[in-house]
Every structure is written in structure tokens, then in C-alpha cells.
Symmetry: C2
């Protein structure tokens, strides 16, 4: 978890990163959050009363309006329909809100990052999974059930590999971190000549080892990078065709780890997939500028926005 | 062209269908529209002064706010950047507006058809081309340059056939009318046993002949229908994942001609592509209920909405 105190201008006054314990009872998570936040405030010389509100972004499916976490296998285990916002509010004694991670990161980038001043903005996170937050004039496009932005499960190649959702050729199965690792493992199993195994140093090779090998000129690794960028480019071109955003910002672990290798070929693929047909002149594909702070700033922006709304 | 007079409640009081002449000078098109509209009004017993406004929907790329048709190869030939709205306004003496066809049809369905009362609605037209109109609380999602909804040029299969946009495996190259016809022609060239050629009666076989043959039990035709529905299903599942609409309505010539054959397999594919992973329970894929009137009612709704906005 990344905790932070963010002021009205978007400055991060204090931050703390910690590993959530294995205990996954919602009430315990909430109390740990509360005590760590209070400690963080005191350390920063702030009294708890000056805290305007508490925002929480997480990899969950949520009914944001009702403040209910519908499901969150990574965070809450089997617990479903947890009234997380109200629990957080009761524990902290401050107004609270929750937001889904890709949307929160999109809001953060729109407030202080790559999406500032952009009316049609899409934030794409490529990490263990792939998701997107779609903003329109600063508002999240949520869709009917609040699940819009499931970019990772759009089909890129119907003949592609099996995805963990049970279908074939989802973008996530082609270009997320585990897909990159799987392709490296496949190359090793085929006995191809590559330094990926050496760089993984006895571990199963991961995306990071692939990127490192590619930088050192390893051909197998460069092929994997090229394929990954190609699939991401096709997926992003589909987003461009459907949503015509002005800016798409890329973030998440895979992008942070391999931006120097991925960004240019992604841009070339998108240009090829969109070029000449429709006028996309000027649509920019950029890196997230906030990195891991994006979600933190996103929920902070929502807290400050709700304070603004409540002013007389 | 389909002309119509539509009252405030969405009743079509009069209509006329006519073939635009080969002459494609914008000023001549506008004058023909004006005189035919006036004639239509008189025939319906209405004086021109009771006409609140004129709306025009067409297969164009347009800057709707400025009322400028940027390009429209089918309508205006090589003419670009035509101030069509102002020309229409000057000729008719009434407030005028223009809208792009897929958006207009979406607005029509949202006013009086399959999208009535639906907050997140997508209208998909499958005809000679494939496009979409995305609505959010009754407002068109246009995107930055107003090109959102280019659904036909999303990639469904990177190894698929060449599209007229120069790329491979666009939905349009897999499932629009000409793609269906091409697949039939391919089967004939391969010498496959099918009645499609007989039904086409000496013409190049088209989608209609394929649908007719499929209804009569022709196996080749049924295969083509099945493939077409499969590709449309994958494309629609991608839309569902990205946009999470409550209702997707299908219209256009291919759907109107083959709904009895296409709709069920489309729904099955979408269910398979989305099932179990995210909660799509209740998301409906339906037929357009307005058919060719959708665009007419769409621009009429805009005219009446703008009258409403101007009331004190």
C-alpha cells in the first residue's frame, strides 16, 4: 500500500509504503489504514483535524457511489460487498471515498500529470493486468455497471493464447507482465540462445529480465519486446478508433520497467494502425508522468473536489 | 436521401425518399434539399413558418459545432470543408444543424427507439461500412476530433483480410456487406457447392443472396453467416469491455437483411467473450427499432432540443 498526505495544490506532504499483512479481514485493514494515516499526519506535523478527507484507490470492483467494494480477490480475499467507504469513514472520523485503481490513476494524471487540461483522456495501466481509465472533461466514464475500461480483456487476436479469463487472445494474455514472462519461458523451453535465463539468476524469468536482456542486445528478448509493443499498439489503436482521445498516458509496472524499449515501437504501431485513414494528427501517446503517485493524487483530487462542492 | 417532417413528440408527419442526382456541387444539393422540404411541408398542410428547424444527418466527417462538413466522398465528392449548416440555414431560412450519421441514428434510437431511457447506450450500424454512436446520458461521446465510434476500423484479427483502409483484419473487412459478398465470391471461385450464385441471378453475389441461401439451408452460406456473426460478436464484446453499455442496438443494411440469422449467434459469441469474467448480467444486445428512421428522428431530436434550450 502507498499512503500519502496530499494538499489542495497536489503536493505530497508525506508518504509511506508498506506491505499489507496476510490478514485480510476488512475491519483489520481499515484499522491498520487508520492508525498508519494518523501516524503519518503526526509525523508531518499535522493534526488529524486538518485532514479534509480520506480517499482510497485499490484494485477492486466497486460501487463507488455507494462506497461498496463488490469484490477484491487480491485485497479482501473472499469477502464481497464490503461497505469499505463507510468503515473507513467511521474509523477515521473524516469523510471518505473509494475509487477503482485505473480510474484513480487516470484522475491523478488528469489533475497533475500527463492528462492535465485534456478533455478526452485515457490512462492505460500495463502491469500484472491491463486496464484503462477513460476520462471525459475530467469525469470518469464508468459505464452502466461501472466496469468500463476493461481494456485487458478486449480480444486482439482470436487465435492468440489462453487468457486467465478463459478466453483466447485477450490483450492481457498477449502483453501484460505474466505474458511477457511466459513468452520468455517458452523460448527457454525451445532451447533458444538467450541470456534471459542468466539475468533471471535462477528465478523464473520475468518481464524485467526480458527488458534487461533486450537492452544488452539479446535477440530473443528483443523479439519478445517487439511482439509485446505490437500487441499493445493494436489495442491502443482500437481505443483511438473507438474513443478518439487527445492523449493516452501509459503507466504500470511493465511500462515503468520497459518504457525505453516499448514506447517508440508502440507509437509506430499505432501510427500504422491509424495513419492516413482518420485524422489523428496530434493525438499523443505518452508516459504517465506521476508513476506510482497517480492513484494517490487521483483520490486526493476527488477528496478536494468534494470539499469544493460542499462549499457554500 | 430520406426527408421527413417530425413533430415535437417524434411522430413522422411526412416523408420522402429520393435519389440524389449525380451532381455533387454543395450549393445544388442544398437547394434541392430546400425545395423538396418546402414541397413536403406544403403537401402535409404545413406552412414553412411552422418548421422549427432543419437537421441533416449524413455519412460525413464533420465539425458539428461549426456546422462544417470536413469530407464526404459519397455525398460531396472532392469538396472539403463545406459550411453545410450555414448554407442550409441560408437556403431554408430556418435554424439548421448537421450531425454524423451513426451519431444521429444513436440519438434517434435514444429518443424513440431501443435506447430510450438508457444512460449508457451504443448504436452500431453494419452496412457497407461499420460505425458506432456512443451515447452517455443522452449526449454523444465525440472524442477529441469528433471521430469517436470508428468501430469498423478496430482490429479483430491481425491476420485477417486487407481492409480498404490499407490495414488487415479490421471489423469492416470481416463483417460489413462487401466482406460478406467477397467471402461468397471466394467460395464460388473455389468451386464450392452452393446456391448463392443462382440466387444472385447473374449479378455478383451480395450479402442478401448469402442470407437467402442460408435460410434455404445452404451450407456455404450458413458458414459465411456464422463467421460474420462471430466477428461481430468479438467486436461487440470489445465494446462491452471498454464501454460497459447497458444496451447495444444493431442497425444498418446487413442487420436489417439478416437479423433473423445473425442476432442469436452474435449474442452467443458476446456471452462467450464476456461471460463469467465481469458482471454483464442484463446488458442487452437488441435490434434497432426505428430502422431507417433512426437518423431522421435523431436530427429531429436535436432540433427540438435546441428549441427547448432557447426557450426563456
Amino acid at each position: 500500500m502507498l499512503l500519502g498526505l496530499v494538499d489542495e495544490e497536489g503536493h505530497v506532504l508525506a508518504r509511506e509504503r508498506y506491505l499489507l499483512g496476510v490478514q485480510r479481514e476488512p475491519v483489520q485493514i481499515v484499522h491498520e489504514l487508520d492508525s498508519r494515516l494518523r501516524y503519518l499526519a503526526i509525523s508531518a506535523g499535522l493534526t488529524w483535524e486538518t485532514v479534509a478527507g480520506v480517499g482510497c484507490s485499490a484494485a477492486v470492483m466497486a460501487d463507488v457511489e455507494k462506497g461498496i467494494v463488490l469484490s477484491a480477490p487480491n485485497l479482501l480475499g473472499p469477502h464481497r460487498n464490503v461497505p469499505f467507504r463507510d468503515m473507513l469513514q467511521a474509523a477515521t472520523g473524516r469523510p471518505a471515498l473509494i475509487e477503482m485503481d485505473a480510474y484513480a490513476a487516470a484522475l491523478g494524471e488528469a489533475w497533475k500529470g500527463a492528462g492535465a487540461g485534456v478533455d478526452y483522456f485515457v490512462y492505460v495501466v500495463v502491469g500484472t493486468g491491463i486496464g484503462a481509465g477513460i476520462l471525459m472533461h475530467g469525469q470518469v466514464y464508468r459505464g452502466w455497471r461501472g466496469t468500463a475500461g476493461e481494456f485487458g480483456h478486449t480480444t486482439i487476436d482470436p487465435n492468440g493464447p489462453l487468457c486467465n479469463c478463459g478466453r483466447y487472445g485477450c490483450l492481457e494474455a498477449l502483453a501484460a507482465g505474466p505474458a511477457i514472462a511466459l513468452r520468455a519461458q517458452g523460448a527457454l523451453l525451445q532451447g533458444r540462445r538467450t541470456i534471459i535465463a542468466e539475468l533471471a539468476a535462477g528465478q523464473e524469468p520475468n518481464a524485467e529480465a526480458v527488458f534487461e536482456a533486450a537492452r544488452l542486445g539479446d535477440q530473443v528478448a528483443q523479439e519478445i519486446v517487439c511482439q509485446t509493443a505490437g500487441y499493445l499498439g493494436i489495442g491502443l489503436a482500437n481505443v483511438l478508433h473507438l474513443l478518439n482521445p487527445q492523449v493516452i498516458a501509459l503507466g504500470g509496472g511493465v511500462i515503468q520497467g520497459g518504457a525505453d524499449l516499448l514506447l517508440d515501437p508502440i507509437r509506430r504501431t499505432v501510427a500504422r494502425q491509424c495513419g492516413s485513414w482518420i485524422d489523428l494528427e496530434g493525438t499523443r501517446i505518452v508516459l504517465s508522468t506521476l508513476g506510482e503517485d497517480a492513484g494517490l493524487l487521483g483520490v486526493a483530487s476527488l477528496v478536494w473536489r468534494s470539499c469544493e462542492d460542499q462549499k457554500p
